[in-house]
């Protein structure tokens, strides 16, 4: 059953149209890779899903609910958890404060996040601004999990991180997929890593979804055509 369904989405930044015709279908427990070259509309699509940007055309339906008139905090309350591009933790709060401030009732709590990312427990009382990039990313994921979402969106979660830290993040995503029923949308440039977790891929080009299917059906011809530099 479809948890999130985007159909015929168009969206604008002022007078500039960024999305023309985006379709996206995410089922319960499914991991979907949202792919495309830079500037093709991936982050804009995420903003529309999280209601940070209102779509002008089309429909966003989450868990059977039309999200057209919902503000972004309602999207989060409905169960959409976002790990934004650039992490953006609350710099002047400690690790623990970042996590408990975002907490909503559910299975995810500080102990469970610490189990997924033991480094956060070690840095519990450190200010978020004093963490390394990788630790901040773990904190951003942990903070989104603390809202006990049904859909987790990871926007460029491994960008700019050291290879060893990237491995930790990918391992955590794989664990989330294996151990929880969480649906996940992942935006990332590493096809090799995406292949380890993604069930499905959706490719955007110039604000339109141009290819959608099982990740295993993603051939080198398709990636060369839509993702090659």
């Amino acid at each position: 059953m479809s948890l999130l369904k985007l159909s015929h989405i168009s969206a604008f930044y002022g007078p500039s149209q960024a999305l023309f015709d985006v379709h996206l279908d995410v089922a319960e427990g499914q991991v979907v890779a949202l792919m495309g070259r830079n500037g093709m509309g991936k982050s804009t699509t995420v903003k529309v899903i999280c209601r940070m940007l209102k779509n002008r055309g089309g429909a966003v339906v989450f868990d059977g609910q039309d999200m057209a008139r919902q503000p972004s905090h309602k999207a989060a309350q409905a169960g959409i958890g976002l790990v934004p591009e650039g992490r953006r933790c609350f710099a002047q709060l400690t690790v623990y404060e970042n996590l408990i401030a975002a907490a909503r009732p559910g299975e995810w709590d500080f102990a469970k996040v610490s189990e997924l990312f033991p480094r956060l427990a070690e840095r519990r009382d450190q200010l978020a601004s004093s963490l390394s990039g990788g630790e901040q990313q773990m904190l951003a994921i942990g903070r989104a999990l603390m809202t006990n979402p049904r859909l987790l969106i990871l926007d460029e979660a491994t960008e700019g991180l050291a290879p060893v830290v990237r491995q930790e993040i990918w391992a955590a995503i794989a664990r989330l997929k294996a151990e929880t029923g969480l649906a996940i949308i992942v935006i990332d440039k590493s096809i090799k890593e995406l292949a380890t977790v993604a069930d499905k891929a959706v490719i955007l080009e110039k604000g339109k979804s141009v290819w959608s299917g099982d990740f295993t059906a993603l051939t080198p011809e398709i990636t060369d055509q839509y993702l090659g530099v």
Partner: protein, 327 residues
């Protein structure tokens, strides 16, 4: 123990020791002066809850300070003149009981802050500052033209209100009441600042979009903070009116809002105990500089300018460092 914690403890100890010394030395004026500092500190702690934690630069907190004052003045006036406050549709009589007066002051200030906040928080920046100032000025002019309660001459209350088991006319006993209230308010604010609500309020000040992304509404967070802030400042107003046994429209005036803001800036914006240090320093300067010249506000202005330019964390920032502590 962190430097800020030591400073907090030292400050509270000094505020306890000094009036006790003044009591021993038979200097009731110094006790009254410290009482004034403690009441101003409560008002500052109230403003700091909105300004320091929520980033809401309210220039209208005199409205709540004045409302607290008038709540005390009106209730006490009717109790002392044996006239009912209202007869229809139901009878409301005045009271001389401090706890009842405090409760009324807090409730009225909170309801007013909720209404003022609900409208003002639709604006930001300089518009928010101006709209809060405008609300306070409305109350100021209303009190000025309300002859029933003295108009611009104000309202004198000849005997301080009662507190069970204490002689409130005794300066040291009234001081202890104010000191305990300050300690309770500080405890409440300290706990609130560390609660998920307080943390989200601070987070909203840093990044509203992020806060929405985790399911919170900045407007609601700000409104709750503004309401609590107004309620605390209203409580301070009731105590201030009881200290002076007098209320007047000047409690609503814009310079009162400015003074409350000065307590916060002098002590350290966003530090729980900052306004306590700020109010104490303000009263100290007022006492010392006021003895030198009647234009002592000029010197105060220069000091404030120095703090804003060179010590932006206020007194707390200078002593305990700029970073907000989490101990």
């Amino acid at each position: 123990m962190k430097r800020e914690t030591l400073l907090n403890l030292g400050l509270m100890a000094a505020l306890l020791a000094f009036p006790l010394w003044a009591y021993q030395a038979d200097e009731p004026f110094l006790i009254t002066l410290t009482t004034r500092a403690v009441i101003f500190a409560i008002a500052g702690v109230g403003l700091n809850f909105a300004l320091g934690f929520g980033g809401l630069v309210s220039f209208g907190h005199a409205a709540f300070f004045g409302l607290g004052g008038y709540a005390m003045g009106i209730l006490a006036y009717h109790a002392q003149t044996y006239t009912p406050l209202m007869e229809a549709p139901f009878l409301i009589e005045g009271t001389k009981s401090m706890p009842v007066i405090w409760l009324v002051a807090v409730v009225i200030s909170a309801i007013t802050a909720l209404a003022v906040g609900a409208l003002s928080l639709r604006t930001t920046g300089v518009y928010f500052i101006m709209i809060t100032l405008a609300f306070a000025q409305m109350f100021y002019y209303f009190a000025n033209s309300w002859p029933t309660y003295g108009g611009e001459d104000g309202l004198s209350i000849y005997i301080r209100n009662d507190f069970p088991g204490l002689n409130t006319m005794d300066p040291i006993q009234f001081y202890m009441i104010c000191y305990v209230i300050l300690a309770l308010v500080l405890g409440f604010v300290w706990a609130a600042a560390r609660s998920p609500f307080g943390l989200m309020l601070g987070a909203a000040r840093q990044n509203e979009e992020r806060v929405q992304a985790v399911g919170q509404t900045p407007y609601r967070l700000y409104l709750v903070a503004f309401t609590i802030s107004g309620a605390i400042t209203g409580l301070a107003g009731a105590l201030f009116a009881d200290l002076n046994r007098f209320v007047s429209p000047t409690m609503f005036a814009w310079n009162m809002s400015g003074e409350i803001m000065i307590f916060v800036i002098l002590g350290g914006v966003g530090r729980v105990f900052g306004p306590v240090a700020g109010a104490a320093l303000f009263i100290l300067l007022e006492h010392m500089l006021g003895g030198l010249s009647e234009f002592w506000h000029v010197y105060l202005g220069a000091i404030l300018l120095g703090v804003v330019l060179f010590a932006r964390g206020g007194l707390y920032g200078l002593i305990a460092g700029r970073e907000v502590a989490h101990d």
